[in-house]
């Protein structure tokens, strides 16, 4: 018996008992839809996580800190102290070359942060000044809302973090800190004093900076500081320190110490760019092994993935229960069908049906129930997914920059998998009835009057 004939016969048989077939298919529809929708929620969650992380910063970046900085040793995960003895881990250009020699590292960027005060007319603002190698800094994927990246050539060119521009206050007003105002930094004359010391009355003379660009308010990685070329800044800083020596007495001790370590501590923070997300953890481990503290967003991603994997499993499990119930429904329908068709099966056997014909016929009918349940289930899932996305994402509109456009995501592979899975469930549920049909005694069957 060829497959086409078998399929036609099977479909005819299913149509003969429309009500029961439809009810059984309905069970599978509900089962498939619940699994697909549940999994789609998990997938949507994953996608949302990734989007969210990308807003925080690049996933291929590793942040490195010198664990010597605070004067304490960082314990490694195993609880043993790091193999590099205290004081021997340098954080200078050699370190950068060492990092750049690690496989999959694109480049390493050194940064040193200085405190500073920014003046715009009578307004002022605390600002962190990041001294960086601008050539490498340009390679970072930084979103700008206006302007361009600074260079070392112009007059003290800097990149402004967007938060810096919003935190100005008037020190002479009655309530200076509650009235923060933003300044159009791109078009205002800005002067910077590379010191956080409080100057009574007369402020020291700083130096004028030229902002060439402002970071985008979507990029929170570079929001809080002013970025300037390392060499340009150290020269400015040296000039300033010489001019204001008397005012800076209280900082002397500390500076002396840092001077003795100047070569060792050229930077206090580094960024390592890795060529692919999948190597980030590997590179991070190596950096840690060298005695540094290293963080990356993939740490968070791993955690989130684990969490969402668990949630997906739970959600999928809930869906699976309903598909399991549907599978029992299919088995029940097919067994009922055998009882009804006992005589028919017997007659077919006597007039020449082979056992495999009977088996395939029943398997096919069960698989068809699964298949159609799967197809309609997936269609309905898309509908539910659409509803969830339009209703729930509408509700979370005010949720700030977490506002993700979708909560449920059904990629095409999930749709296909849903149909394939429900068809398979149909087949599996039909197996027992099919075998039972083949075992039916032809003689008993034709005796049944």
């Amino acid at each position: 018996m060829n497959s086409l004939e078998l399929a036609l016969m099977g479909i005819k048989n299913l149509l003969r008992r429309k009500a029961r077939t439809i009810l059984t298919v309905l069970g599978v529809i509900i089962g498939t839809a619940s699994i697909v929708v549940m999994v789609s929620l998990g997938l949507g969650m994953n996608k949302a996580f990734e989007q969210q992380l990308e807003e925080y910063g690049s996933l291929t970046m590793i942040e490195v800190y010198n664990n010597r900085g605070g004067g304490y040793m960082v314990m490694s995960d195993s609880g043993e102290s790091s193999s590099v003895p205290e004081g021997e881990v340098a954080f200078n250009d050699e370190t950068i070359s060492a990092f750049e020699n690690i496989e999959h590292v694109e480049f390493a960027l050194g940064m040193k942060r200085f405190d500073g005060t920014l003046y715009a007319g009578k307004l002022q603002s605390w600002a962190g000044i990041m001294a960086v190698d601008l050539e490498k800094f340009k390679k970072l994927d930084i979103d700008l809302s206006e302007g361009t990246m600074p260079s070392a050539d112009g007059v003290n060119e800097v990149l402004m973090g967007f938060q810096v521009s919003q935190n100005f206050y008037d020190p002479n007003s009655r309530n200076p800190y509650s009235n923060q105002s933003s300044v159009d930094v791109m078009n205002t004359k800005l002067e910077i004093v590379p010191s956080s010391s409080y100057y009574d009355g007369k402020r020291p003379k700083g130096f004028v900076i030229t902002p060439t660009g402002l970071t985008s308010d979507q990029d929170w990685d570079y929001a809080w500081d002013i970025y300037i070329d390392y060499d340009v800044f150290t020269k400015l800083k040296a000039d300033f320190d010489r001019r204001n020596k008397s005012n800076d007495d209280n900082n002397n001790g500390g500076r002396k110490r840092s001077r003795s370590n100047e070569d060792q501590d050229k930077y206090d923070q580094m960024k390592i760019s890795v060529d692919d997300v999948k190597y980030v953890q590997e590179v991070q481990e190596q950096v840690k092994a060298m005695g540094y503290e290293a963080y990356s967003l993939t740490d968070a991603l791993e955690n989130m993935k684990q969490t969402s994997g668990l949630i997906q499993a739970v959600l999928g499990g809930i869906g699976a229960v309903s598909l399991f119930v549907a599978a029992i429904g299919i088995t029940n329908t097919m067994v009922m069908s055998i009882y009804e068709r006992t005589k028919e099966i017997g007659v077919m056997k006597v007039i020449g049906a082979e056992l495999k014909d009977i088996k395939r016929l029943f398997l096919f009918e069960a698989a068809m129930i699964g298949f159609f349940g799967g197809v309609f289930g997936v269609i309905i899932s898309y509908g539910i997914s659409f509803l969830i996305n339009s209703v729930l994402s509408g509700m979370s509109q005010g949720g700030g920059y977490y506002g993700v456009g979708f909560l449920s995501d059904i990629p095409y592979w999930l749709a296909l998998l849903g149909i394939a899975f429900s068809t398979f469930i149909g087949l599996a549920a039909g197996y027992y009835p099919a075998v039972r049909a083949t075992r039916l005694s032809a003689l008993e069957a034709i005796r049944t009057e």
């Binding site: 018996m1 060829n2 004939e5 016969m9 005819k12 048989n13 003969r16 005589k343 028919e344 007659v347 077919m348 056997k349 006597v350 007039i351 020449g352 049906a353 082979e354 056992l355 014909d357 083949t438 005694s441 032809a442 003689l443 034709i446 009057e449």
Partner: protein
């Protein structure tokens, strides 16, 4: 009769004992029987005589307790279910007392059923089914469902279904059991004609001595034993039953023929 020289079914030392609870019921004691090619063999007996058991075992539907059944030289009691199904598909047709047509299917689909299992293409098997329906006189009932047909018509569809695959052997279990006398004669007549056409062997089980009149060989069976085997010359059956029956018919064609002859 040289025509009947080849033995198609050979039953040797066949015994069947049913176990009902702790009791043994002997359905067949000791059966030895040869049926030749082209023979119309009637197994005649009252209910409970074991005649149906014998038929079921010859058709491979039941396993004997002892003895062997050779069909075309093959011992069918040794075959497993799978082999038996294949064997039946190729060599055996079956006519039931209660017709056992598939109620969802039309006459033509019912007749074509055995051909589906053989994997015959649709066009071919429909042509074949139509031919056989015509042969049993149902040329105008192709698309009727069993419920739309009389018992005699249903049984004729059953006969067409049994013969459509030109099996060597056709088993008939009380084929006239549910029919009135006139229809029974019609049905027996059709079976006789069909079998003769392709030299097929028919084994009929019945309790009706009138049915036995059409047989070349009558096997009387009682209490699980063969009482007597009666062979009849082939021509005898034809002269006595078939010819007079056919001559009693005057078809429309006959009238036109007669009319044109008269003019």
């Amino acid at each position: 009769m040289t025509k009947h020289s080849e033995v198609v079914i050979s039953v040797k030392g066949l015994r069947k004992v049913y176990r009902i609870g702790n009791e043994k019921v002997v359905a067949l004691r000791q059966i030895d029987l040869d049926i030749h090619r082209g023979e119309i063999c009637c197994i005649l007996g009252t209910s409970g005589s074991g005649k149906s058991t014998l038929l079921n075992m010859m058709a491979g539907l039941e396993k004997p307790s002892k003895g062997t059944i050779l069909i075309k030289g093959e011992a069918i009691e040794k075959m497993n279910e799978k082999q038996l199904a294949k064997f039946r598909q190729r060599n055996i047709g079956f006519i039931f007392q209660s017709y056992n047509l598939l109620s969802a299917l039309t006459a033509i689909e019912n007749v074509a059923m055995p051909l589906i299992f053989r994997g015959m293409p649709k066009a071919l098997r429909e042509k074949r089914a139509k031919k056989y329906l015509k042969m049993v006189g149902l040329g105008d009932r192709y698309h009727h469902k069993p419920t739309q047909m009389s018992g005699g018509q249903q049984q004729r569809v059953g006969i067409a279904r049994a013969f459509v695959g030109t099996p060597e052997i056709v088993f008939a279990d009380e084929p006239t059991g549910n029919l009135d006398t006139k229809t029974s004669i019609e049905v027996m007549h059709i079976m006789w004609r069909m079998a003769r056409e392709k030299d097929q062997t028919i084994v009929i089980v019945t309790h009706d001595p009138e049915v036995a009149l059409y047989a070349d060989k009558v096997v009387n069976i009682r209490d699980g034993d063969i009482q007597s085997v009666e062979d009849r010359p082939e021509d005898d059956v034809y002269e006595k039953f078939i010819k007079p029956y056919e001559e009693s018919f005057i078809t429309a064609d006959d009238i036109t023929e007669a009319a044109s002859a008269a003019l």
